[in-house]
Amino acid sequence: MKTVLEARQVSKIFGGLVAVNKVDLVVPEGSIASIIGPNGAGKTTLFNCISGFYTPELGDVLFNGRKIQGMLTDKVAAMGIARTYQNIRLFKSMTAVENVMVGFEPHLKHGWITAMIKTPGYVKEQKHIVNEASRLLHYVGLAGLGDNLALNLPYGAQRRLEIARALANQPKLLLLDEPTAGMNPQETDVMKDFIRQIRDDLGITIILIEHDMRVVMNISDQISVLDYGQKIAEGNPKEIQANPRVIEAYLGPGAAALSEKYRREKTHDA
């Protein structure tokens, strides 16, 4: 299978802290690759290196075989890498549909002069992207909410809108940073299915950062585990779940076991 993204010995240093330490990552086309790891392991930093926010001090990031480190973020986006953010970052006082339309930006052909004259070509292009944007909204389940300001949307809808905006970039690779954070289990399930659907429907490769193991273990083709900036394990969900190092550093005994423990404690107290 073709490799979409390859990271080679990527390292990012903040002052004295090596946030990402010689990480290798190979993501095949059409897969869902998850990155997990304790808080502060360097997952988001790795995303930032891939999407052009940071220039890694060391190592290469290759997208479809081309080096992309050091490129500005808009160029990276134009090449086909789109992302969402751990703390939602929408254009708050723009409507939902406008948020999505901004995503089409790298593919627009018309400029300020044609916009001024309103040439037929320009008008057609605009019509086209309004349509496309609302179809995308529909696709992510926000049909009919297009005219709402982003800040007025419920939390879950904002997460979806971020994804819609990213999809409008027409990416080949989508980076999702904790898409289910702050969602309740029911909503999380819906989001999980949706992510899989994006991959299946659109053939977009997805890299996912997530702390919710029900999501990660369910939809990942491949999981990489970071700890203190270093990759400590890689494999399919089964392998990862069984890896003692991962359990020790990250997974712990698991939610079910925990709540059992508390329940016992409580009855014990009583």
Binding site: F53, D74, V76, L90, S93, E98, V102, H138
Partner: protein
């Protein structure tokens, strides 16, 4: 009455007392009384003090307001006679006593023959006596206390009465609203033809008014028009693309001087055609926008503001400096700048010029609207809200920020050229920091990002001080105060921006989810 209520009343009285004293200290009491006297149709001789009765009217109004405010402390409570009487008496008394103390001090000092004006320039003997109603000190201060209390009580009862009638007012207003909604007038709203008719009326006015209202108003309105141009331009930069630029006057100056130097016989004797020079001025300003913008695109917010402010100052100082004297005429400025010509005929009367300005304004409004509503406007808006993310979403932020800067600069260049041409003169002092500040103020007072707001803002900012000429030396004082009050009352501006609604085709629920054609793998 509880303690809190007493405190509030006293505080209100205190504020009003201080206001009265402040007015007296800056001589405002005399000026306003004079205006009242004139408004009542009584003449006022030169250098004469206004009559005591007009002063009493002024004080009375303030006193009534005091009582009113003190009485209505909480929106939710219902007033009664006892409450009102207590509160307004306290407020009036406190204000009165404060004023009394002040009057006593200045009265005694003045009686002793001390010249207060050495330190407080408005306190002439005459005005001190005027403040005491031309009575002896004792009588004067007693009148103050008594009158202030009385008027506050009147104000309190007015508040009571108004509250009693408020229900009625409210129901009347509601019924009017209802009527206007039901009635054909209400239905007309939102009818596209109505806006065409309205536009027609405005156009007609624009054609007719310059012919009728005379040179002064043409001049004032011309200035307003030029500031509308500037405002529209800065609005592109600040309002649309979110870059705070405090040196906008630099582009104005570049436009004005380019035009001036290419059309004036002195110092270069170029004397170009008006329209060519106008075009060159606009281009020069736009180009300077790009040149300035290129190195500073990384700057954000207030850093950008101060760099551009510095740039504006650099331009102004250079224009008046000795090193550029031979090129720009130094502090003297360029005179004999050309007026417009068309088909060989020069049209430089105030009316002609007004039409030219109106034309330029209409064109600019058109352009600004087009850009705002286009994908360019959308990209600007995205940048203004979150530049980092906009860039990561694929918006070429550098390009768009530069574009905004140079388009905005072009408007300023046009404004500058028209300004220079109309005055037939331009000098470094035309391009001081205050111009940048004024334009920024009008954009924000009007409503940032809003084109009608800019127009309204320009009228407010450049028209208001002209109207305030009636209050002479107090006009800037009043203007400053109004600016603060306006921001507090309407922080979003007089006419806030609204995003145009897009016609979003709503997907049918039963429609199968099918994929946007352009989305995803283009295999």
């Amino acid at each position: 009455m509880n303690k809190q209520s007493i405190q509030k009343s006293a505080a209100s009285g205190m504020v009003f007392g201080i206001i009265v004293i402040f007015f007296a200290l800056i001589g405002f009491t005399v000026v306003i009384s004079g205006l009242i006297q004139k408004a009542l149709g009584q003449s006022l001789g030169v250098g004469q003090m206004p009559s005591t009765s007009s002063f009493l009217i002024f004080l009375g109004l303030l006193g009534i307001w005091n009582g009113w405010r003190a009485s209505r402390q909480d929106k939710h409570e219902t007033l009664n006679t006892k409450k009102v009487l207590g509160r307004s008496t306290i407020a009036g008394l406190v204000a009165g006593v404060l004023v009394m103390v002040y009057a006593l001090i200045v009265g005694v000092l003045d009686n002793r023959g001390i010249n207060l004006r050495t330190y407080l320039s408005q306190l002439s003997s005459e005005s001190v006596r005027f403040f005491l109603f031309n009575q002896t000190i004792v009588v004067g201060i007693l009148i103050h206390v008594f009158y202030s209390t009385l008027m506050a009580v009147v104000g309190g009862f007015l508040a009571l009465a108004s509250e009693r009638s408020r229900e009625r007012v409210k129901s009347t207003r509601e019924s009017i609203q209802k009527w206007s909604q039901d009635h054909w007038l209400g239905k007309l709203q939102g009818n596209p033809y109505v806006s065409y008719v309205l536009m027609g009326v405005v156009l007609l006015l624009l054609v007719l008014l310059p012919r009728t209202w005379g040179a002064y108003w043409n001049y004032v309105m011309g200035t307003v028009g030029i500031y509308v141009l500037l405002g529209l331009g800065l609005n592109i930069i600040v309002g649309f693309s979110g870059q705070l630029v405090l040196g906008y006057v630099a582009f104005f100056a570049i436009g004005a001087y380019t035009f001036a130097l290419t059309t004036s016989p002195e110092p270069h004797n170029l004397v170009w055609n008006f329209w060519i020079a106008l075009g060159v001025a606009v281009l020069a300003a736009a180009l300077s926008g790009i040149l300035i913008g290129l190195p500073i695109m990384r700057l954000r917010g207030d850093y950008l503001a101060i760099v551009t402010l510095g740039f504006g100052e650099i331009i102004r100082i250079l224009l008046r400096s000795d090193i550029l004297k031979d090129f720009t005429m130094g502090p003297r400025g360029v005179r004999n700048i050309a007026g417009p010509t068309l088909f060989g005929r020069s049209f430089t009367t105030d009316v002609d010029f007004m039409y030219l300005i109106i034309l330029a304004v209409l064109l600019s409004i058109f352009l600004a609207r087009r850009w705002q509503e286009s994908s360019i406007g959308r990209a600007w808006l995205a940048i203004s809200q979150d530049e980092t993310v906009a860039q990561a979403t694929g918006v070429n932020t550098q390009k768009y920020k530069l574009l905004a800067l140079s388009l905005g600069a072009a408007f300023a260049g046009l404004g500058g050229a028209l300004f220079a041409s109309r005055n037939q003169f331009t000098g470094p002092e035309d391009h001081a920091l205050m111009v940048s500040i004024n334009v920024l103020v009008l954009v924000i007072v009007g409503g940032m990002g809003s084109i009608p707001g800019v127009i309204l803002g320009a009228f407010t900012l450049k028209g208001l001080p002209e109207i305030l000429r009636e209050v002479e030396n107090y006009r800037l004082l009043v203007f400053g105060a109004l600016l603060v009050v306006m921001m507090i009352i309407r922080p979003e501006g007089l006419w806030p921006a609204r995003r145009p609604k897009l016609e979003v085709p709503v997907g049918q629920d039963n429609e199968p989810v099918h994929l946007p054609a352009t989305v995803g793998g283009e295999k």
